[in-house]
Symmetry: C2
DNA sequence: TTCCTTGTTTATAATTATTCTAAAGAAGAT
DNA sequence: ATCTTCTTTAGAATAATTATAAACAAGGAA
């Protein structure tokens, strides 16, 4: 169980002021065992449901983007009408269940090392991500 | 050089009526040597520029979606505010230059076989795609 | 504390990509 | 030609995201 105090420090360390709203969002995002995949809208609704306090949509966007920038969240590339984020920021891959519109983690060892045998002059690799689409 | 006649047949084979607009779009998309990565907006502007004829935006959406459905175009999963398509429908991967917002093909042999050593009950794999993000 | 500066939240407006709609037009078959 | 069906189109509708600017809260200094 992660304490509110830890979130406050986490925020301070990133020079983000620990506001009530941000702490609420931390509780929902980071106070859990398993990785969490979500859209802004999922999160927006969860905050209302779980904390009883309402946070404006703009703040949810601001906060998620701030956390993403600080490396606390990972954006997942799927072609969907909504952007997905992941609380697991380590290098890993995903299944995407197209029908259910649900993401499932794929551990690195379930994919094996990927060696990119081509390089683009003047550019370096930032990330390598595998997306496995699933159908019935 | 692919002829207009071939496009007409291609369209007929997919039970899409060969209209002037669709043929124009075919010329732009398929009458080229290298693979072509584009957004709907790119294509919309190209049609105006290259053919001199204007096609409504709705038709571009309709046609691209029809071609995608028929397997003549591939959708590429990137997190961007616009959806990207690719005229190369074979199984292959991509670099994405984040700064330039540009896609570059990655041949399968430059990535090597990817074996997904995990399965999800009741689901089968539809596609496996690697996205390599590039930075300066 | 109290004051001040700066960062944050908020409702709402603005923007942008995409889809929908309904009417006019073109293709294909008879 | 005529009829049916498919297609195009402009514009409206929708939905995700970003911008705006005023009210508010946090942190520091006096």
């Amino acid at each position: 169980m992660t304490s509110k105090q830890e979130f406050i420090e986490k925020l301070r360390n990133s020079s983000l002021r620990p506001t009530k709203q941000r702490i609420n969002i931390c509780e929902i995002l980071f106070n859990r065992d398993k990785t969490f995949h979500f859209t802004i809208n999922d999160l927006f609704n969860l905050i209302k449901d779980k904390t009883g306090e309402k946070v404006s949509l703009a703040t949810v966007y601001n906060t998620v983007h701030a956390f993403h920038k600080k490396g606390y969240l990972k954006e997942i590339p799927i072609n969907s009408n909504q952007t997905y984020f992941d609380t697991n920021v380590t290098d890993h891959h995903h299944f995407f269940d197209v029908k259910e519109e649900k993401l499932i983690d794929l551990k690195n060892e379930h994919v094996g090392p990927i060696e990119i045998q081509k390089s683009i002059p003047g550019k370096k690799i930032k990330s390598v991500e595998v997306l496995v689409k699933l159908e019935d």
